[in-house]
């Protein structure tokens, strides 16, 4: 009848998440580790009379302080002292997987090894003696095939039994680090123990090893605890480093890695055997790579796969998206009919239903995209994409995996930046990920397409397809150039090492893919109810208040009154033509009123106040209002321009009347159109994207992106307008 916390550690691609899913099923809770964007998954369950909290640690190869994931995993072990840890090990690559296990053993946390993927071991013709491994490592060992839920229950039972037996007692493993480091470690250990330096949390020898490894996190904590000892330990470390450099041409941390691998090699030579000794046997995975990463075929197949993902997401996803649109359309109509005309109706219909509906409309897209990306990632193909494209993206300071967010965001015109930004999660390199998040929204998303199409058909009717192609290519060029600039300025720093595992190809499991997709989709949908609802109401208010003064409304009423009387006077007997002409007159008055009303609102005042500046880029106040509205969703640019040009509601599917109106406006020239295209391509992403960006990075970074991209958009559109005006 106890409470136990059990951590699950393991390398990336070892089946850790599959094990976690097999153990906890749907009883999961996803959050972030405090202060970082690393995901924390926990599941609670009962085993007999005991309640267990199972914590999925980030996948890591090691427990150093270089990546957020490793720090999070290590600090969890040290600070929260779970009663037991399960290390899920890919038994097919046992040697490398044990490198993490050995580091956990050096800490001393009670450890159970889950030898996963035993099916792959058997098909590869290898034999693993797990009893021998248990004997040599001193850990309990359980064989599992997590994707079939085989052995996972036994694994958990072992962990619980171990937790009960150890009762929170840690028994650290001591590895010999050779004749040079051992005496130094002994000396450090004595000093640390005498002063009780950090030993309330971690073993003394482990602290010594971390000082030899120059582990920044431990040294910083040591300084805070007792700077005198810390400095003493650092001096010892520097001295021995000089010595080993001179005699062995190796730094202490290199020696430590050598000895750890030596220790592992000693263990596994009696554990792993190859009865079918056929070293040249090419595995199925290697055969597939001969084609899938082939010099010519590889990139072609990759293009094909990207195209298929894109097509399925946006054609199949379109269908449920249409249902959701109809649902929210129906809700809007129902509310319109049920409520009296007025502010409340406007708030509910335009502010809440349209806003939240627009956001929830993306849910099917996100679902389909994550279904496919999860399947591709679980299959091992995403790693191959990164491998093939890295050379190109490296030039721009990005990572091979950046291609996916770009494509989904609209690298092929018509995507959507929201799932695009969410797809950056497959990027393991922090700087590269930030740059990708920043520039991915430049791509031509589906909501920008009507804006571009309208401008093209208005100003370049002869060359519309060419211009659309140029826009798509321009977006790619800008994204890559800006990424390069970012990576050599604000997020400077050497490329994150590309040392990456190419996991063998595996058939993704339906369960794994579904759980992953569900998590992402739910996480997104939750936002719609909270922050997005708030922003949506805010934008609605900006475009509604202040309202027209009463005397202006009365004056429009007065203009309409005689016409309405005329219509009533004609009654049933009036000719259709005369009636239609009169109704048109009323519509004209309505539209003029809407134009004045929107100009009078806060958004209108901002647009008008900005006009002197925005005219540098050829944008009048009407364009400014439309661009402000575009922050809600880019297609709003078209409908708001319609209102501002007193055309009433403009259907985004049929923009011809608006195009004609724009061409007729002497203030809106071809140069303005070019500038507007450039501005729309680059300026602040819609707020749903901004929320997604903040979720994947931080609010600061999302704010940088909004301000930086809008600034860049303005500078470039001014330049384009000035140059174009001079020539056209």
């Amino acid at each position: 009848m106890g409470q136990y916390t059990i951590g699950i550690a393991g390398n990336p691609n070892c089946g850790k998440t599959t094990t976690f899913n097999a153990l906890t099923g749907a009883r999961q809770h996803v959050a972030n580790w405090p202060g970082v964007t690393v995901e924390k998954k926990t599941g609670t369950m009962k085993l007999g009379t005991d309640s267990l909290e199972i914590v999925d640690l980030p996948g890591t190869y090691s427990l150093t302080a270089y990546t957020q994931e490793e720090l999070v995993a290590r600090n969890f072990l040290v600070e929260e002292r779970p009663e037991a840890v399960i290390d899920v090990v890919n038994a097919d690559a046992l040697e490398r997987n044990l490198y993490l296990a050995v580091q956990i053993m050096e800490l001393g946390v009670p450890l159970v090894l889950g030898l996963n993927m035993m099916d792959e071991v058997r098909t590869s013709g290898k034999k693993i003696d797990s009893k021998k491994l248990a004997e040599l490592s001193g850990c309990r060992v359980v064989e599992t095939i997590a994707r079939d839920s085989k052995g996972t229950d036994a694994l958990l039972e072992e962990a619980l039994a171990l937790a009960k037996e150890k009762k929170g007692l840690w028994s650290p493993l001591n590895i010999s680090y050779g004749p040079d480091l051992n005496p130094v470690l002994d000396e450090m250990e004595k000093l640390i123990e005498a002063e009780q330096f950090l030993t309330d949390k971690v073993p003394a020898r482990w602290v010594g090893i971390k000082y030899l490894e120059k582990d920044k996190d431990v040294i910083d904590k040591g300084h805070l605890a007792n700077s005198k000892i810390s400095i003493q330990l650092e001096e010892i470390a520097v001295k021995i480093a000089k010595h080993t450099q001179m005699t062995l041409k190796a730094s202490p941390d290199a020696l430590i890695a050598d000895y750890r691998y030596g220790f592992i090699a000693g263990m596994i030579k009696d554990v792993v055997s190859y009865p079918v000794l056929d070293a040249d046997r090419i595995s199925r995975s290697d055969k597939m790579d001969k084609v899938l990463t082939h010099t010519f075929l590889g990139p072609l197949i990759m293009l094909g796969i990207i195209y298929v993902i894109y097509q399925i997401t946006f054609t199949v996803g379109e269908i449920p998206m249409g249902w959701l649109e109809s649902l929210f359309g129906w809700l809007g109509d129902t509310a319109t009919n049920a409520l009296p005309d007025g502010l409340l109706r406007s708030l509910i219909v335009s502010g809440i239903i349209d806003g939240v509906g627009g956001v929830l409309g993306f849910v099917p897209l996100i679902m389909f995209m994550f279904l496919m990306i999860s399947a591709l990632e679980d299959s091992g193909y995403i790693a191959r994409m990164a491998y093939m494209l890295d050379r190109v993206f490296k030039i721009f300071g990005l990572h091979g995996t950046s291609v996916l967010p770009f494509i989904v965001s609209g690298g092929i015109a018509g995507g959507c930046a929201v799932p695009g930004v969410m797809a950056t999660r497959t990027l393991r390199s922090p700087n590269e990920k930030l740059a990708t998040i920043f520039v991915a929204p430049y791509m031509t998303c589906g909501a920008k397409v009507p804006v571009f199409l309208m401008l093209c058909s208005a100003f370049f009717p002869e060359n519309a397809p060419t211009i659309m192609l140029l826009i798509t290519l321009g977006a790619w060029a800008m994204a890559l150039i800006v990424a390069r600039v970012l990576r050599s300025t604000i997020i400077k720093g050497a490329a994150t090492p590309f040392v990456m595992e190419l996991p063998p190809y595996r058939m993704p499991t339906l369960r794994g893919v579904l759980i992953h997709t569900w998590e992402r989709t739910w996480e997104y949908a939750k936002k719609a109810g909270t922050i997005i609802l708030g922003i949506s109401i805010l934008i609605w208010a900006m475009m509604t208040f202040p309202q027209l003064p009463e005397e202006r409304v009365a004056s429009y009423e007065a203009q309409r009154a005689p016409i309405t009387e005329q219509i009533e006077a004609l009654g049933e007997g009036g000719s259709e033509e005369v009636l239609a002409a009169l109704e048109d007159k009323i519509a004209d008055i309505d539209n003029t009123e809407s134009e004045e009303a929107i100009r009078n609102t806060l958004a209108g005042s901002i647009g008008t106040a900005m006009e002197p500046v925005s005219l540098l880029a050829g944008f009048n106040w009407r364009t400014n209002i439309a661009l402000t509205g575009g922050f809600a969703a880019k297609e709003v640019i078209v409908s708001t321009l319609g209102t501002a040009y007193s055309m009433g509601e403009v259907d985004t599917e049929d923009t011809d009347p608006l195009s004609e109106k724009l061409v007729a406006d002497p203030m809106f020239t071809t140069a303005s159109a070019i500038a507007l295209i450039i501005f729309t391509m680059l300026y602040a992403p819609c707020f749903v994207t901004v929320v997604a960006m903040a979720r994947e990075s931080s609010w600061t970074w999302a704010a940088y992106s909004v301000v930086g991209s809008t600034g860049l958009a303005f500078v470039l559109s001014v330049a384009a307008y000035q140059i174009a005006s001079a020539f056209i």
Partner: protein
């Protein structure tokens, strides 16, 4: 025996033994964590379409490295 070459210059399908790893800091750590340490036998199994990165097989798994990272590693070709 003086036939040490830089890993960048290794050819596809070549079998090699690592002689030295001269990287420090994060890169060095990552390289070593993955088991690229002196004495390890590696097999170059492929290069990306633009000849960078390179894919290596060692310790029963496959690893990719950029050429700029492979520059820090010297190897000696193994006779079959």
């Amino acid at each position: 025996m003086n036939n040490s070459i830089c890993l960048r210059n290794a050819k596809v399908n070549q079998k090699l033994k690592i002689l030295t790893v001269n990287a420090e800091g994060e890169l060095g750590r990552r390289i070593r964590d993955m088991g690229l340490i002196p004495g390890t036998e590696v097999h170059v199994i492929g290069k990306a379409p633009l000849k960078d990165p390179v894919a290596l097989r060692l310790r029963d798994f496959t690893l990719t490295l950029r050429n700029s990272e492979a520059d820090n590693i010297t190897v000696t070709p193994q006779e079959d």
